[in-house]
Homo-oligomer: 230 residues x 2
DNA sequence: GCAAATTAATGATTTATTCAAG
DNA sequence: CTTGAATAAATCATTAATTTGC
């Protein structure tokens, strides 16, 4: 099973450009891109280096989690203080380490445009079946770039059959599978250097782009309109 | 449809304080409060935010269930460990009186511990899969799964048979299989210095992709019109 | 200066939780 | 109550930083 022994780099290493773009996207509100978005992002980022859909997927997952974690600690302290004060009014609670939920409606005067709350905003904006069986999380579709994918062959699937076949597969994994199919185009970077040139030329111009992303999900707090919950 | 209309979330969202108190109560022994107790609790908790009696009722019900579940799992694991140790002396006897604790197909391995370090051979480097291969579950279509796939080979399956067959290929196993089949493109894992391009394309002015309001409807076009949930 | 040893980041997986539908 | 879909949390594992001894 020695996978080519030669360090096939088991792990993706984002180039500065890729990272920059991803962060900008995140900053713009993107949190959990769907497969379609991932494909496009991947496609674009592949210009700057080897990358696969799952990398993008993971990046957002991890980044979101990290940010949330960071934030949670800060808020946690604040909350604890508040609660310490309040608990005196009611039950003499020993105040353990409850740090599960954050949902204070008072919301966050946060500086960062993200992570409104961890578990709180449970109100999943699942397009709540308004009208009739939607298929796209509308919110997600807001930002969509026109990318030139290698080939375009819309697969027609028999939903019914498929459904049966799928058995149980976690959504994420499934998505990844799909994403893998599309992943990044062959990117010949014939370079044997260890991995990830950490410091490469600062690449000058990189102007930031206007991503009109409105990925409104439980995440994102910048301009969260009350989830229609349609 | 569209129960919506509810400007506020249709669902109770416990504030941290409420949650803390509830948990403390649970900890002190309360399990199934009667109407009177519920009323009282609700009254108290309402100080920290909107809440109704039924919320309290449901909370205790759910929490109780959850705790049981948790405990059940822990016991299972402990047993597993103990048995792993003991099985060297004796042989793994699946304590019959615990069988009812396991109801999922995944349970069997527990009873017959085989020291399967799940995380052992994680690093399954990219296999140069190739075969296209995709199927979509009806549910997934909500994410607009009409993505452009390199090759389309819709696997025709006999729903009925397959379904039955699936029985054991739950979750991870199934996924892994699929992923293996699909995975990433050709990618010769020779010495193709995988990681990070220290060598990315000229990249001069970094022309960022045109993500703008202009093409906000691409997806619509290719897939389906996202309901203006927003 | 460099390379083994340690530590810090962070990419990749797995597990648990949550919500909704049947 | 059960099951499926989706997500977040927890965890693992590898890479890059860094420290340290030479």
């Amino acid at each position: 099973m020695s996978p080519a022994s030669s360090s096939s780099s088991s792990r993706w290493c984002p180039t500065p450009e890729q990272l920059m773009i991803l962060e900008e996207m995140y900053r713009s509100g993107i949190r959990t891109p769907n497969a379609s978005q991932i494909q496009q992002i991947t496609s674009h980022l592949s210009f700057y280096g080897k990358i696969e859909g799952k990398n993008v997927f993971y990046w957002f997952q991890n980044h979101k989690a990290r940010e949330r974690q960071k934030l949670r600690r800060k808020l946690g302290k604040q909350l604890q203080l508040q609660q310490q004060q309040q608990q005196q009014l009611y039950y003499p609670l020993p105040l353990p380490h409850l740090l599960h939920y954050f949902d204070s409606p008072a919301a966050s005067p946060l500086l960062f445009p993200q992570i409104s709350s961890s578990n709180s905003a449970k109100s999943l904006p699942l397009q709540g079946g308004g009208g009739g069986h939607e298929e796209a999380s509308a919110q997600m579709m807001k930002y969509t770039w026109k990318v030139e994918m290698p080939s375009e062959s819309v697969v027609e699937v028999e939903t019914d059959n498929k459904k049966a076949l799928m058995g149980k597969m976690y959504g994420r994994d499934w998505m990844m599978m799909m994403v893998d199919l599309v992943s990044s185009p062959p990117h010949n970077n014939n370079n044997s250097s260890p991995c990830c040139a950490a410091h490469r030329p600062p690449l000058k111009t990189l102007e930031l782009f206007p991503i009109t992303a409105t990925n409104l999900k439980e995440d994102n707090a910048t301009t969260t309109p009350p989830p229609p919950t349609n």
